[in-house]
């Protein structure tokens, strides 16, 4: 950390406001950010939530599945991603199971299996659904796009056995699931580009429709595929997760977290603007001095 006095001495000129700000101890900023976020988590300021068209379409897509149809839910969340979109995953699982849609879970990320279990356990009505009949869980499969490609025509051969060690041929739910076209749809959740594996390997060659739940980092890609009509809606980040919970009528624990996110965004924007104003001021001053 450069001291303001030192900064002025080094350049041999009077300290400007920009010098002072640039040489400010950054810990003040971290403390301010921490206090701001903590305050927002404690005080509920109830910022209104927007519900995007893509979230509404995601729900319409889920409503289009017939009772008894089977979908693949690829939970590719990591722990940190799950903190952002875990609520949307749980809400989606609950909504589909309660509507009589059967779900085959699998994961392209190591954390996905345990996170799916945690999500299922948090569904209040989970005891109404029978393992192996209403839902089944397969494990983690390494290989990313190769796994999705292998599932195209050989689901049994690729998945092998579920997390309890039961072979596909002995699982009632898997009896008629031999290839990807036997699934009514796919839903992928994660923080990477895994949803494009399903688009490339299932949706484009076999017309299996799909949708995804992702972090905002993938918003550009999701928007592009959504506009290409190869994604039937999507849920983006915490905002989308809270919006989905609201549309489905489930309680959401994201209200205050979103307030904290908003506050952090505003602080960051304010700091960016202040930093740029000082930068421009400094630049103009240097130009004048050179003249």
């Amino acid at each position: 950390m450069v001291d303001a006095k030192e900064a002025g001495q080094k350049t041999g000129r009077t300290k400007t406001l920009a010098d002072r700000v640039h040489s400010m101890d950054r810990r003040y900023m971290w403390w301010f950010l921490t206090i701001l976020v903590a305050t927002m988590l404690v005080i509920d300021i109830s910022i209104p939530l927007k519900i995007g068209d893509e979230t509404k379409e995601f729900v319409t897509f889920m409503d289009s599945f017939k009772r008894g149809s089977v979908i693949l839910f690829s939970n590719d969340n990591t722990v940190t991603v799950n903190n952002v979109i875990g609520e949307a995953c749980t809400a989606t699982m609950r909504y589909l199971l309660e509507r009589g849609v059967k779900i085959v879970f699998m994961s392209l990320r190591q954390d996905g299996v345990s996170l799916t279990l945690a999500s299922l356990r948090s569904i209040p009505t989970v005891d109404r659904f029978k393992y192996g009949v209403d839902y089944v869980q397969f494990g983690y499969y390494a290989g990313d796009t190769r796994v999705v490609a292998a599932l195209q025509r050989d689901v049994w051969g690729t998945l092998g056995a579920d997390v309890r060690g039961t072979a596909c041929k002995d699982i009632p739910l898997m009896q008629n699931i031999k290839q990807c076209t036997d699934f009514a749809a796919w839903i992928e959740s994660g923080g990477g580009s895994q949803f494009t594996f399903y688009i490339n390997n299932w949706s484009v060659p076999y017309n299996v429709p799909g949708a995804c739940i992702q972090t905002a980092a993938n918003l550009p890609d999701m928007t592009t595929w959504y506009r290409n009509r190869l994604l039937n809606g999507f849920v983006s980040d915490q905002t989308g997760s809270a919006a989905l919970s609201r549309v489905l009528g489930y309680p959401s624990g994201l209200g205050r977290i979103l307030n904290a996110q908003s506050a952090a965004h505003v602080l960051l924007i304010a700091l960016i603007l202040v930093g740029n104003l000082l930068y421009v001021q400094e630049k103009l001053r240097n130009q004048r001095r050179e003249k």
């Binding site: 950054r26 950010l33 722990v79 279990l117 796994v147 550009p220 996110q261």
Partner: protein
């Protein structure tokens, strides 16, 4: 001698060319025998990836032993990592991922540690954003404007400040972003196809050569 023959470039190229061309051909023509062979190849690819994960652990353990013997900086952390990997694997293999031990380790150790690690990175993201968003030239100004607008689009507060922020943010995503992203996707696809062909015919350096 036999091992050297197996590692020879020609054999690797032949295997790659056979696998690559078979999978590629299957996309365009429907021959039952070819289809069965390709399906088998795809499952093999998944098995190889699973095997590679296991090999990765042994690679890590080997590196730990070498570094520990040499008492290189950080060796206790490496040993700690191996112990944790063995403990997690033990519970996962013998009691299943639904078992209490594995679930406890995942929910109360791994989950907390990972979340804390990412949270610790927040100040650095903040700091990096402040540096990246400095209006040094026209490109940086455009980057700054688009970034700020998208931040306000993504956070619920944006709509509260001005109802136009979601509209502008959506326009940026739908029009300039989508058009550029589409072009990039097409170019990436063409590039990958060209690279794949070069790899299949042996024009690219292969793992076996390294």
């Amino acid at each position: 001698m036999a091992l050297a023959t197996l590692r020879s470039r020609e054999i690797v190229v032949i295997i790659l060319a056979f696998c690559g061309l078979a999978v590629l051909a299957d996309y365009f023509v429907r021959i039952p025998v070819l289809r069965t062979a390709v399906d088998e190849l795809k499952v093999w690819a998944v098995l190889i990836a699973a095997f590679a994960t296991g090999v990765g652990f042994f690679g890590y353990a080997r590196r730990t032993i070498i570094k520990t013997r040499a008492r290189e900086p950080g060796w206790p952390v490496l040993i700690y990592g191996v112990i944790l990997a063995i403990v997690m694997s033990y519970f996962g293999i013998f009691y299943g991922v639904e078992g209490t031990g594995y679930s406890w380790l995942f929910n109360y150790v791994l989950q907390s540690v990972r979340t804390a690690t990412v949270a610790l990175g927040t100040p650095f993201i903040f700091s990096a954003a402040l540096r990246a968003f400095r209006a040094r030239n026209l490109d940086a100004v455009l980057f700054l404007i688009a970034g700020v607008l998208l931040m306000l689009y993504n956070a619920p507060i944006g709509e509260v400040i001005w109802s136009g922020f979601p509209v502008v943010g959506q326009w940026i995503l739908d029009v300039p972003q989508t058009s550029v992203n589409r072009a990039l996707m097409i170019l990436t696809g063409l590039g990958l196809a060209a690279y794949g062909i070069r790899y299949i015919v042996g024009f690219e350096e292969m793992a076996a050569e390294r």
